[in-house]
Symmetry: C2
Subunit: 337 residues, 2 copies
DNA sequence: AGATGGACGGAAAGGGCTTTCCCTTAGATA
DNA sequence: TATCTAAGGGAAAGCCCTTTCCGTCCATCT
């Protein structure tokens, strides 16, 4: 691997000069030397060692992103938004999948700190585990104190810049929509109990129930993925066969539920209405197309990245950007028969 | 930010000893000093500077992955497989999205080289652009010569380890399936002409047509995404209203096509059969569920990562792992009316 | 002509870590 | 008890860059 010294030698200049030409400094260098150096770079196919650079410069550039799982469309969309802004700003993004394991999340924070990431973006719900929340906060604190920036998407615990999807009011919208249509027997497919996203959305549903003088007949907890959504739907229908509507706390589970209902010959929305949450791209392609609560996922990602990139002074109060939801009415909901 | 020197000072040992304890060397250190150092680490929340480490060690660890777009389910699934193996081996993955821009792909190769990535995995079709293919090969050569490893998924050009989905024979399977059902008027929705995946799959379709003594009525080129798939379907139906089957070269476009057909009141599969390619997770959830050619995407990713991690000697011949496809019959295909 | 200043190039000092090489000390052996 | 060995600890060199500081040279001004 060619080093700067090799280039300098070949161009018969000092490493200092070569560095100035290659990495662009505000010091001027004559065109003659410049040409010689660039020729040497070309010939040796020299690329500066980024580790040495960031060591010497003491300046961070990469952005670390910790998500639950990129292959989940929810995070894929957020990531898309994140990357767009990062690329526009010439920043490298390091994506880390925690696979919903708090331990791994902690490890990744350390790893990103070790790699001198300029910022860490934590995307995705936090966990209801105080022990864990405390270690996380502590690690993030240390990181921020050393000059890193932290931005979270959809989490409460940490006192930093945050992009917050309005999960509670989204939940409210979802349930209200069902009640508005006249449903009296509503079941809920929730996500993992440990996630704050679950509790928030659920809280919204419950508030809507209270406001409408109705109640949610049953809540089953699943894993935010399709298959567990299907299982949950089965459990729901088994215990309350006269249910007329199901609210799932994300689209994947809603789609799983619809698959199960179809398999049992229960027609949607004639017999049972289904409403999802997130408005993932697939939602409009399933049949019946899924009524859901839209979250502008890609924008959320973009906003988070913008917050992270604004270098801002260290001690200002954290900025919280609230992102609101809206109902997207499609064909999976209808008044009860 | 605490440094190793700080830790050493606090523990009243030399930096050498501290390093040995923290980063594990084969030299033994007494338990007493070990305890002192670990206590200091804890107290200072010390994390070694990864840049300095990799500079000093001259040993690479991160794996760079260049994909077209992680938010595309095709790549999301591959990435999932990649990450699984990487995590099992304690490796960090840097994901780069080229958004199908060859230029950006070149830039990312340089960037990963600069960051001393241990290996680069290029996922996703190559481009029919010789100029570009040449620069890419050259850059990869330099990278390999400097000790990096390169693995490609689904590309021809470069002479390295490769995981190759059997695109051509998958195309053959897709068309054969339609012909077997008795379709005589088959339209094709292809991907971007510049991608080799497109040409390969198309070649398979054509070979099947030849073998069956049929022909493909019309091929429209789209962008491998849902919306362009819908447009392409519109164009297809407009120019050949008596088409009875559509083969799309990936599932996203197939789903777009089904959406358009539904919108026009053309029933699938009664009037028109649709077959996709890839078997993305959503394929089974659309209605009618999509018949498609399955590619074990996550396994492909895992295999590629394994190849990349096997450090193997430099001069052995490249290993090519062929991944075969299979037909997954669902409800979107049927004999013509 | 001599002094002054500006422009450009190079020497060298880090930046944080690992690792080789050497020294000290304690334990083992004769 | 004297000698040898092994093991643990530290000094310092080096990994590849950037950047400050200094020296040189030439052009300009008085």
């Amino acid at each position: 691997m060619a080093t700067l010294a090799d280039v300098a030698k070949k161009a018969r200049v000092s490493p200092a000069t070569a560095s100035r030409i290659i990495s662009g400094s505000n010091k001027r260098v004559t065109d003659q030397l410049r040409a010689r150096v660039l020729a040497a770079v070309e010939e040796l196919q020299y690329v500066p060692n980024a580790n040495a650079q960031s060591l010497a410069r003491m300046q961070r550039s990469a952005i670390g992103v910790i998500v639950h799982d990129v292959s989940d469309p929810y995070f894929a969309e957020i990531t898309r938004g994140l990357q767009r802004i990062a690329t526009e700003n010439g920043r490298l993004v390091i994506i880390c999948n925690s696979y919903r394991d708090p331990e791994r999340e902690l490890e990744y924070v350390e790893l990103l700190r070790a790699h001198q990431a300029a910022a860490i973006i934590l995307a995705g719900s936090g966990y209801h585990d105080n022990q864990f929340a405390k270690s996380l906060s502590q690690k993030l604190d240390v990181y921020e104190r050393s000059g890193g920036r932290v931005t979270v998407i959809g989490r409460h615990q940490h006192a930093t810049d945050a992009v917050m999807p309005a999960n509670e009011s989204g939940g409210y919208l979802a349930a209200s929509e069902l009640f508005r249509l006249g449903h009296k027997h509503v079941g809920v497919i929730a996500g993992p109990k440990a996630l704050t996203t679950t509790t928030d959305r659920l809280a919204g549903l419950r508030r809507a129930a209270k406001d409408s003088g109705r109640r949610l007949m049953r809540t089953v907890y699943a894993e935010f993925d399709r298959d567990s959504g299907a299982e949950a739907a089965a459990e729901l229908m088994d215990s309350y066969p006269n249910l007329t509507a199901i609210a799932a706390l994300n689209d994947s589970m809603a789609i799983g539920a619809m698959a199960l209902l179809r398999q049992r010959g229960i027609s949607v929305p004639q017999r049972v209405s289904v409403i999802g949450f997130d408005d993932m791209p697939i939602a409009r392609d399933v049949t019946p197309a899924l009524t859901t609560i839209r979250l502008p996922l890609s924008d959320i990602g973009a906003t988070a990245m913008k917050l992270a990139l604004e270098s801002g002074q260290r001690d200002r109060p954290p900025r919280i950007v609230e992102i609101s939801c809206e109902v997207v009415r499609r064909e999976s909901t209808a008044p009860p028969a």
